[in-house]
């Protein structure tokens, strides 16, 4: 496999509705920003780019089959090769990895990945219905198909197994909304308290409206290239492009119906799912104690797909101690509860410790006053951008938005793009992006690193 660089990206303003433009024109905003950041104009980039990957989730939202080719056409990318990817909420993360594959395999030197979703074209409850169609239409959807309900069921089990509290979940909401306060691309830039989160209207017990991301219209794109591609881009732009390398990718899956998720034995967990960082006598004993008290893996409280994606990505990137070796994570916080579950899947803490980890302060940004009494200092900021909860979640764009923010972090360019420096993770050298589809069915983890 060849080395792949993530050299540039662009994000449209995420908003509840963008009636001012059609979806290809919103993609064009993100694309124009990405090429301008490279110092190129469209005719130059068009000459150099080898092909593209298109990312969008729902034909229902678009009410347009083959929307990908419309974006390809509008961007002026015809007749170059392209294909559309779809994998629920992980569509953007899958798109990024398909772009990586195109470059790593030698098929392309320069690949453009673009994604979008226009969710405002139906009313919120109809949007909920479209999203719920991403659950089994024979056994899940007809019972009361509602994604927030599915995630709420998972977290009630998490609470029962581990004692996770709604206040710990609310810490995630306060953190992500406060981070977004400094992110001009974010849809919800709010200073909140734990009490605000709990007092918000209940959507699916125990998740309130402030525990849940919103629907959005938006687009994002990233440009990936090989060393040869980088040389071509630098020659065309006449400037040196900061090196951000994609040092490893991983992907995992799990059963569509949550009801079908296995309840594995301790031995199978050790064999298939334990991270190398967890392979110590103390942690083995910790997990054995959990099993002795009735814990089974993954059940409905944990995302095995997220664990397997992390495990594979860490192996490929040579990461042994995720919390110590990753400087920040942009992860798929469609719900505050799923951010907590994902801390555990990614090995930022052990299974069962996600709640206390959320309230510890370790996942917060340094230098930002959250109005919370946090016992520990930031170690690995999670969702410094504000995540899905505050930035918005135009599904096909989301995973690529995470990649763009990660590229800017690693280029140490957050101030340039956000117009304010608060969200720059100091000395960011390595970041992880995590994209997650419905109830943990497809999950991607990609590791990006700054190369001096």
């Amino acid at each position: 496999m060849r080395t792949v660089y993530a050299v540039s990206g662009g994000v449209s303003k995420f908003a509840k509705a963008r009636p001012d433009k059609t979806f290809p024109a919103i993609v064009k905003e993100a694309y124009d920003y990405a090429i301008a950041d490279l110092g190129l104009e469209h005719p130059q980039f068009r000459e150099l780019v080898d092909g593209t990957v298109a990312s969008y989730f729902s034909d229902h939202f678009a009410r347009q089959l083959m929307a990908g080719i419309i974006a390809q056409d509008y961007l002026g990318m015809c007749p170059k090769p392209s294909h559309r990817v779809e994998g629920g909420g992980a569509t953007g993360g899958i798109c990024f990895q398909e772009g990586w594959k195109a470059v790593a395999s030698g098929y392309m030197d320069i690949c453009l990945c673009y994604g979008f979703e226009t969710m405002s074209h139906v009313q919120t409850w109809k949007g909920n219905e479209f999203i719920a169609l991403a659950s089994d239409v024979s056994f899940d959807y007809p019972v009361g198909g509602f994604y927030s309900g599915y995630y709420a069921m998972m977290v009630t089990r998490h609470m029962k197994e581990f004692g996770t509290t709604v206040e710990q979940m609310a810490h995630v909401s306060v953190k992500n909304h406060m981070n977004a306060y400094y992110n001009p691309y974010a849809q919800k830039r709010q200073k909140l308290t734990i009490a605000d989160v709990r007092a918000a209207p209940m959507v699916a017990w125990p998740l309130t409206r402030l525990d849940i991301c919103v629907m959005s219209d938006g687009a994002a794109c990233t440009i990936l290239c090989s060393e040869e591609g980088l040389a071509k881009l630098e020659k065309a732009s006449g400037k040196r492009i900061p090196r951000v390398k994609v040092s490893g990718i991983g992907r995992g899956t799990d059963a569509m119906r949550m009801a079908d998720r296995p309840h594995q034995s301790y031995e199978d967990f050790l064999k298939y799912n334990l991270l190398p960082s967890e392979d110590t006598p103390e942690t083995r004993k910790y997990y054995k104690d959990l099993w002795d008290h009735g814990f089974r893996y993954p059940g409905v409280h944990s995302f095995r797909a997220g664990r397997m994606a992390s495990k594979e990505a860490y192996k490929n990137a040579g990461i042994h101690d995720p919390l110590g070796e990753i400087d920040f994570v942009e992860l798929h916080d469609a719900y505050t509860s799923s951010e907590i579950q994902t801390y555990e899947d990614m090995g930022l803490c052990r299974y069962g410790e996600g709640g206390p980890f959320a309230a510890s302060g370790k996942a917060f940004m340094p230098g930002i006053d959250y109005g919370l009494d946090l016992p520990e200092k930031p170690v690995c900021p999670v969702n410094p951008s504000g995540g899905l909860i505050a930035c918005g979640h135009p599904v096909g764009a989301t995973g690529l938005m995470q990649a763009v923010f990660a590229i800017w972090q690693l280029q140490h360019n957050i101030e340039k793009h956000f117009g304010t420096p608060e969200l720059q993770v100091p000395n960011a050298r390595r970041g992880a992006i995590h994209s997650h589809a419905g109830t943990g069915t497809y999950v991607t983890v990609s590791i990006l690193e700054r190369e001096e």
């Binding site: 009313q123 024979s138 019972v143 009361g144 069921m153 089990r157 699916a204 409905v300």
Partner: protein, 180 residues
């Protein structure tokens, strides 16, 4: 906001007037067109699917006859609370087994909001139900509990199933209520 006693906003709806024309510059000067607000129209889309339950059909026939069926891998005995035609470990075809429709609440939520189809039913309780000797779960509605009193203490509660008299051939033809 749904919980406001006296809302200060009227809900937006999709009814409207039929419009056959809009203002447009009369002369040759088209420079103002880029400042025009977008034209937004309603497009309807509805469809009826001919959906087959295929190999899962006996489950729904069972519900219609007041019998709760699960599927089991014949050699390993791995049993699916939501039926599957084939086992995910051995790849073998499963067989149908009837079990008592009694279980335990494994996880739950109260939906106060939802998809358009289910909005009129809010608030409703969704639960994953576990059964004795069955390896996986079943998603169902639970009734007979106060949605306003949701508590994680509900988890572990014994549940009994009840079959709808007039089947709708949906998984909701069985629903659960507290056994005690």
């Amino acid at each position: 906001m749904a919980d406001e006693k006296f809302p200060t906003r009227i809900e937006e709806t999709l009814e409207g007037s039929v419009l056959f024309n809009v203002p447009f510059p009369k002369g040759d000067d088209l420079s103002g067109l880029k400042d025009m607000a977008p034209i937004i129209i309603k497009q309807s889309y509805s469809i009826e699917y001919i959906h087959s339950y295929g190999q899962d059909s006996p489950f729904f026939a069972g519900l219609a006859n007041g019998r709760f069926l699960v599927t089991r891998e014949p050699d390993t005995g791995y049993t699916y609370g939501t039926p599957r035609g084939h086992d995910m470990y051995t790849g073998k075809e499963t067989e149908w087994v009837e079990i008592p429709c009694e279980g335990v609440m494994h996880a739950f939520t109260v939906c106060h909001f939802g998809s358009e189809e289910f909005l009129p039913e809010c608030p409703y309780i969704l639960a994953l139900v576990e059964f004795e000797g069955v390896n996986t779960l079943f998603l169902a509605r639970v009734v007979g509990l106060d949605p306003a009193e949701a508590s994680e203490d509900w988890i572990g509660m014994k549940l009994k199933g009840r079959f709808r008299l007039w089947s709708k051939f949906k998984p909701t033809d069985v629903y659960f209520y507290p056994a005690e």
